[in-house]
């Protein structure tokens, strides 16, 4: 799958994720994409190297007296790690970081209908931004909406097309304020996406606009 990904993270998002300054919902989406994309995993490695280089060249600030001994005491307090590095790639539709928030794979998601067959599940992250799973039945559309901030949409299963392009599994769409779009799922399969937003969406038609405060979309 990783070779077929066409839409990747940009440098700004990768650097902010490496620096650790993204809101949690965005970090989750970035981590999920990297789980599926070796290209961005390698680029993240490069940004982490910048972080390491900046830390390494920082002017020394002396650690306090007894710091080493205190660290050794901490080490001795904790039994040796038994954690094995033999991580096994999770099976399932949801990448591991998303499974951690859901508490399982797709069958553990608590969907709520948002109308027209579209369902969503909001994941518990810090309030600065919102992460949600979206379920769009094959051939169905998510209501036309614009954004005040940034919206990241990562395809986990199936595919969708909007006014911008076509997005398949592993692809991430980065939409900003200039984008008004109506994502439509491909006919072949139901589409499941992870979407992160840092401001509420703006719907074009009246009904979703009225429903918005209740649905938290």
């Amino acid at each position: 799958m990783t070779e077929m990904i066409k839409h990747h993270l940009n440098d700004g998002l990768l650097m902010a994720y490496s620096a650790g300054t993204l809101p949690e919902a965005f970090s989750l989406t970035v981590a999920a994409h990297i789980s599926m994309c070796d290209e961005c995993r390698a680029r993240l490695g490069a940004f982490d190297t910048i972080g390491g280089a900046l830390m390494d060249e920082t002017v020394d600030v002396a650690v306090s007296e007894g710091s080493f001994e205190a660290t050794m005491a901490r080490i001795n307090d904790v039994p040796a790690a038994t954690e094995s590095p033999a991580a096994i790639r999770s099976k399932g539709v949801l990448p591991k970081p998303v499974q951690d928030y859901v508490g399982g794979d797709l069958d553990a998601v608590k969907w709520r209908s948002v109308g027209m067959g579209v369902k969503q599940a909001i994941l518990p992250t810090s309030k600065k931004a919102t992460a949600r799973l979206l379920y769009i039945p094959a051939g169905a559309a998510v209501p036309d909406h614009g954004h005040r901030g940034t919206e990241l949409t990562l395809v986990l299963q199936g595919a969708f097309a909007d006014e911008v392009d076509h997005f398949g599994a592993g692809d991430i769409e980065i939409a900003n304020e200039e984008v008004d779009h109506t994502p439509v799922a491909d006919i072949g399969a139901d589409c499941i996406c992870l979407a992160a937003t840092d401001a509420p969406l703006r719907f074009r038609s009246l009904i979703p606009r009225i429903a918005q405060p209740f649905l938290r979309i």
Binding site: N10, D11, G12, L13, M15, A16, S18, A19, G20, T21, E24, F26, S27, L28, V30, A31, I34, S35, D38, R41, A42, L44, G45, A46, D48, T49, I50, G51, G52, A53, L54, M55, D56, E57, T58, V59, D60, V61, A62, V63, S64, F68, T71, M72, R74, I75, V78, A81, P85, A87, I88, R89, P95, K96, P97, D100, Y101, T125, T150, N176
Partner: protein, 170 residues
């Protein structure tokens, strides 16, 4: 390789050398990121203790020691200052406990050093932006799309290490 000695022999002398080099840098990083002195000291000790406990997870073909310790310090920072979870990508499956290839580790080290030189020779304004991104709270939209950093070679190097890892597993 000092971290390998910590991992294999719980070598305290080797750990002391690593500590003396990195603990002041981790502390400076945390202070610049907004911690007060006592929080920075506490977090630094935790970061260095984590290094000891997780030494077996360090892979020198994928990251330099400075890079790896930076990621531990960054995660501690998110946890302690920002009170947020840090979702991490699913790790790649590891091969049958092979010793990392020395040549690969050396090549990565050299690429890391080149990147350090490249950062040092950046125009002051650009370097300041990058430092703000890592030490401050510059938002992702404030970080320019193009950082102007020559990331190509080190990215290829890391990509190669990932490909080998996958190959070893298949």
């Amino acid at each position: 390789m000092l971290i390998a000695r910590v991992r294999d022999d719980q070598d305290k002398a080797a750990f002391r050398v690593v500590f003396d080099h990195f603990a002041p840098r981790v502390r400076a990083f945390l202070l610049r990121s907004g911690a007060n002195a006592s929080l920075a000291e506490e977090c630094t000790q935790e970061v260095m203790a984590t290094l000891w406990h997780k030494a077996h997870l360090f892979d020198p073909t994928r990251a330099s020691a400075a890079t790896w310790i930076f990621t531990i310090a960054r995660n501690r920072k998110i946890d302690a200052f920002r009170k947020q979870r840090r979702p991490e990508p699913e790790d790649l499956p590891w091969g049958p406990q092979e010793e990392p290839d020395q040549a690969d580790a050396l090549a990565l080290q050299q690429e890391s050093e080149k990147l350090v030189e490249a950062i040092a020779s950046l125009p002051a304004k650009q370097k300041e932006l990058i430092e703000k991104a890592y030490f401050g709270d510059l938002s992702h939209s404030e970080i320019a799309e193009q950082t102007g950093l020559p990331l190509g070679t080190i990215k290829s190097r890391i990509r190669l290490a990932l490909d080998r890892l996958r190959h070893a597993m298949s």
